[in-house]
Symmetry: D2
Subunit: 224 residues, 4 copies
């Protein structure tokens, strides 16, 4: 399907059930056919803004944990994209919908939201760059897969802007770059046959847990 | 009620509602009158074992973040108590109930559990010792208050061992020591009138969030 | 002299002696009058490249430790400037001088260099954003002061490019932005009279130690 | 010679030159034959006290970075030994020599001292438990080797207490336990043939740098 690198494909295959629950969640299908209530979407968008604050901090931690200039550059580009672009997008959409910037910033963080970002950040703080990337990847790549699928399957125009963002060339390029970063980081530290390493199971478990926390996040989106 | 220091009393008063939900949760009342199903208790105990692993790591982080020998000593004593004593207690109780050590170690971590410990650890990693202590204190002190109350109010002997552990002199002494550590850490960094500092609100918010995550933990205990 | 904010001026005044040793070091004066041997300059430049790798990681840590969107934005702009621009500058100058990129990347890190960056990073990891900024500021601001002074005092054209970089509008703007970040971070966490806080002494001590490590760095520059 | 495990022996062999400079330093030989001036020894002891504060924090970080109960237990035992015992020993020796506890605590940290502990702590914060252990091991094991050798070679009684501490059963047992921890941590994460992993070179480089920083520390000891 997608071409986000070797490691991601292996990790996703090792977490098939939660991956399907995440990328085919009722929230996602509701964006596809336009049945998702606008209230739920805006609630999700506000929580996602809070999410992005901490997700950006987690990508900044990837810069801290880098061992090469290439790793630093790839991670810092993502931080920059998140802080300077994606977060501004949320501010814009919310303003159009009558949610002021002050209101957006003051959004109380839901526990399903908090659980996810703190898990990711802590995986990074306690481990090395690999442990962190395994926790960061499900969000990045899942949105890429969802965007690409909905771009061809959507039967409604209601959430077309959201879909286009993640189906677009820029975001798909980010997914490919992150896939390359994951593969090269694994190869540099473990070797080309990284899936044979004793660490592989733990990394796959981190990926799976982050995927489950994505499922909880969508579910939270349905209950404003 | 309890004498766990000035800062704790202030933080608890600023989080009255969640504090009551936590310390008077149905799970707690079920231990008091013995109506808590044994299955729920054992489920809780296994999750609590996983919790203690990460909670011990968080107290070890307090040693890393200490600025004085006294702070290091107080924090390392708590780490030691948790790892060498409290975790062994859980192993013992579980073995009595037919849950082997291997089974206990392999307990899958519930998301309500994960959310709590990762929030605490991340608060510490991203902030200083004060941010960490504000997140650590609700668990330590809440169990102290619950233990002390149930020791005098319990109408059933079923959970007497658990109650005695937290009502006992050792644990109450730990609560007092942690209360002193919190007060002295605040005074050293902020001054004697620490509650007037701009940081105080954020510290109280961290305390409140940790308290809410304790409520979720008890709730999880009721649903094995 | 410079207008890099209130806190910086206070911290500098509390570390007058090492600050003078740093900003008026023989290495600096040698750039001013052109007597600094080219070999020493290139040696310094290569070590400075290694320094910038870790200094960028430290600024990325400032993003991780931010509590507001403004703090994140200010810190991430600095990361970006360091990784995408300043490090490319070093690569360029070195190439002109016949030092290949591969050779530059392989520069063995001198202990005076390592001591400085690890001190800064560790101050950040163990403390909060304030502890980190107090360690980051001497490098940023000192170069700003040196550049500005040498722009008007230099009697030789030999090191004019280096001088212009740090005397230039871009770099001076960075110093002012970092000064504002330091002041606002202090005010947000401690209050407007931050210099009366018990933390102030420790922050000044961190600033002083980082300044002393800058002196060692210049000294190292004189001994290729 | 010593039996501190497989990985340590390999790492030491990969850093033969600095290892010899460290374990056979003039300071060490001066303790052996009693020619080391008492002033240098007391100066070293005071710096070593400051060193132990940060070294204990680094071992506490090893608890934070542990993935198993066994790893946590091994690391926390070392923290405890350092904080509750070794640091008390220094306090005692200094008091005997007329250096009060207050004076000891106020010892200004020399840059050679600071460089070493911040390097170790930062290696841990930026990497995983393996990166941290590679930086912690040279100090632990080197003192074990020095103590064992001097116990049989010393021609003077002047520094016999110091020698006996590190030659003693307790300390030698710690070295063996740390050797086992290093081997098991490597095997758990990388596999039994860990020296074939791409990570091995970096770990050996960390070990080597820490060893070089030990050489600087002894050298600093000679210059009160």
């Amino acid at each position: 399907m997608s071409d986000y690198g070797k490691a991601f494909a292996l990790m996703r295959d090792a977490a098939q059930e939660p991956w399907r629950d995440y990328t085919r969640h009722a929230f996602v299908e509701g964006m596809k056919d336009g049945t998702l209530p606008c209230e739920a979407f805006l609630h999700y968008l506000r929580q996602d803004y809070v999410f992005l604050i901490h997700f950006s901090r987690a990508w900044a931690l990837a810069v801290v944990k880098s061992e090469t200039y290439e790793e630093m550059l790839a991670a810092s580009r993502t931080v920059n994209g998140l802080i300077s672009e994606e977060m501004k997008l949320h501010i814009g959409v919310c303003e159009t919908e009558g949610i002021s910037q002050a209101e957006l910033f003051a959004t109380p963080e839901r526990h399903e939201n908090l659980a996810y970002t703190r898990f990711v950040l802590e995986a990074g703080h306690s481990g090395d760059l690999l442990d962190l990337l395994a926790a960061l990847v499900p969000c990045v790549m899942g949105y890429g897969e969802i965007g690409a699928r909905l771009a061809s399957e959507a039967s409604s125009e209601t959430y077309r802007d959201w879909i286009n963002t993640y189906a677009g060339e820029d975001y798909q390029g980010t997914c490919e770059a992150v896939g390359e970063l994951l593969d090269s980081t694994l190869t540099r530290r473990i070797g080309a046959d990284f899936e044979a390493s004793p660490r592989w199971d733990r990394l796959c478990k981190t990926f799976r847990t982050a995927t489950e926390l994505e499922v909880n996040f969508w579910q939270m989106g349905l209950t404003p």
